[in-house]
Symmetry: C2
Subunit: 122 residues, 2 copies
DNA sequence: ATATAATGCAACCTTAGGGTTTCATAAATA
DNA sequence: TATTTATGAAACCCTAAGGTTGCATTATAT
């Protein structure tokens, strides 16, 4: 058996996983400009408040959202610094796909170059 | 009932979903430099070839990988252009978190500024 | 003191995700 | 031709995701 409470507090959820769900990306977009309380967020969706609450909780578990209580309301605030992990990961491949595109353009721009065909089985 | 075959061909899987799994990100990293056949990819993981094959299939469904057959081998090649969607999405929020950091620095750099406390209940 | 609002959380349901084993098939080889 | 090799796909399994309803709790408003 796993010590769930312990894991819950320490395990920082994968940010890639957190942004995989389109609803969570919408939530992020919704509170990116200004904090909203949980109900205000939930009102913008078709699904139940509880469903939205779970999404928000997941976002807090990976640090993309922090919740601050004022009276009986809890405001959800976006802390998007960890999106740099995503950007950095994807950005490292950019030169690969741009180089590929460039070499394709060079290839097409050379009129006398024979069009290669994929290897034929014989 | 859904026309599954039809959906399968048309529904381009969400690229955010595709990169959510760490194994799939590893696969992408593995074939980013040069194509590898399915078995060669699978050899680098603990899990079964079939499991890796499924991951590769998901990656092809969202256009991040293309498969080309040579003889009995099928080579998996990374086509990472669609990662721009991820970068663009995350990048739009960068100014928000950098502005927040800057204003925090400004706040801390002003010695006479009183430290605000969260609203107290009375 | 009560009623209502805003939330957290437990219990439950359904489906997709990730994994395995097994079998079928096409291509390369002994 | 017989046999490996490389792969696709079906049949299952188990768990996490995402959703719902209902209840408990705390703060605000009557």
């Amino acid at each position: 058996m796993q010590p769930k409470g312990f894991l819950f507090k320490t395990m920082r959820r994968d940010v890639f996983q957190a942004i995989a769900d389109p609803t969570r990306r919408e939530i992020i977009n919704m509170i990116a400009q200004q904090p909203l309380n949980v109900n205000a967020v939930a009102e913008n969706f078709e699904v139940s408040r509880t469903a939205i609450y779970k999404h928000i909780k997941m976002l807090t578990e990976c640090g993309l959202v922090v919740i601050t209580q004022f009276g009986r309301e809890r405001f959800c605030e976006a802390r998007l610094e960890r999106l740099t992990e995503v950007i950095d990961w994807a950005e490292q491949y950019r030169k690969i796909w741009t180089e590929r595109l460039e070499s394709l353009e060079n290839f097409l721009d050379t009129p006398e170059s024979p069009r290669k065909k994929p290897a034929r089985k014989k």
